[in-house]
């Protein structure tokens, strides 16, 4: 079965990656947010650098907050961003 995911980035994560979104194919064994991060980190040092300290990042699956261990399930969109600073 073809499994894919849109990933969207905000604030300094977006700036440092130089893109606000991308579409990725999820291979076998990619089940959680943490698995997706590992997959991206394996691609380049830029991802490795940004995701080095995931305590500084927040995640949302289909616009609801998740944690690294959250299963991707049937979600279509993963958002990765720094802690929010609105208000």
């Amino acid at each position: 079965m073809d499994r894919s995911l849109d990933i969207v980035y905000f604030a300094w994560v977006r700036e440092r990656l130089g893109t606000d979104q991308e579409h990725v194919q999820l291979g076998d064994g990619i089940e959680t947010i943490s698995d997706v991060l590992d997959m991206l980190v394996a691609r380049s040092d830029v991802y490795a650098d940004i995701f080095a300290d995931i305590a500084k990042l927040r995640f949302a699956l289909d616009q609801d907050y998740g944690v690294p261990a959250s299963p991707i399930g049937s979600a279509r969109e993963l958002a990765i961003f720094p802690p929010v600073t609105g208000g």
Partner: protein
């Protein structure tokens, strides 16, 4: 009655307060957050996650409506470039009594600051730009509402 607005347009506090008052009750509480002049701030850039923002703000408002006896909740948050002294955020709550209105207004702001997907980038008068970091005091204020 919930009203959520996110956009670049400014808001009129008098008009928004009157709208909430029109929903009944005699106790209206409001909070306005503005761009603070801390010496050499030029402007703030407010970024958000459009697909999630409305959902997150609505959830906060719904929680307030279920936890306090409110007639109406309005949350307005601006995005884009804002200069010192400009309005950023407005929360208005309406109830029969001041306790509920004031508490719910405070709850909404505390949650908004730690949950709603907005990010601020500061530009200084010398041109230096920096993303604002999460404040521990905001996280503490938000967590105190866990019951």
């Amino acid at each position: 009655m919930i009203r959520i607005e996110v956009g670049s347009a400014d808001f009129d506090i008098g008009v928004e307060t009157a709208k909430v008052a029109g929903q009944g009750g005699g106790a209206i509480a409001s909070f306005v957050g503005q761009v603070r002049d801390d010496g050499n701030l030029q402007s703030l850039e407010l970024e958000h996650y459009p697909a999630m923002t409305d959902k997150a703000l609505r959830k906060i408002a719904e929680t307030a409506l279920s936890d306090w006896p409110l007639h109406a909740v309005t949350i307005i948050h601006r995005v884009g470039t804002l200069s010192v002294g400009e309005n950023i955020v407005l929360v208005v709550t309406g109830s029969d009594h001041r306790g509920a209105a004031i508490e719910a207004c405070s709850f909404i702001m505390d949650k908004l600051k730690t949950v709603a997907p907005f990010w601020k980038k500061e530009t200084r008068t010398d041109g230096a730009a920096k993303w604002v970091e999460e404040r521990a005091s905001d996280v503490d204020a938000s967590e105190k509402w866990q019951k």
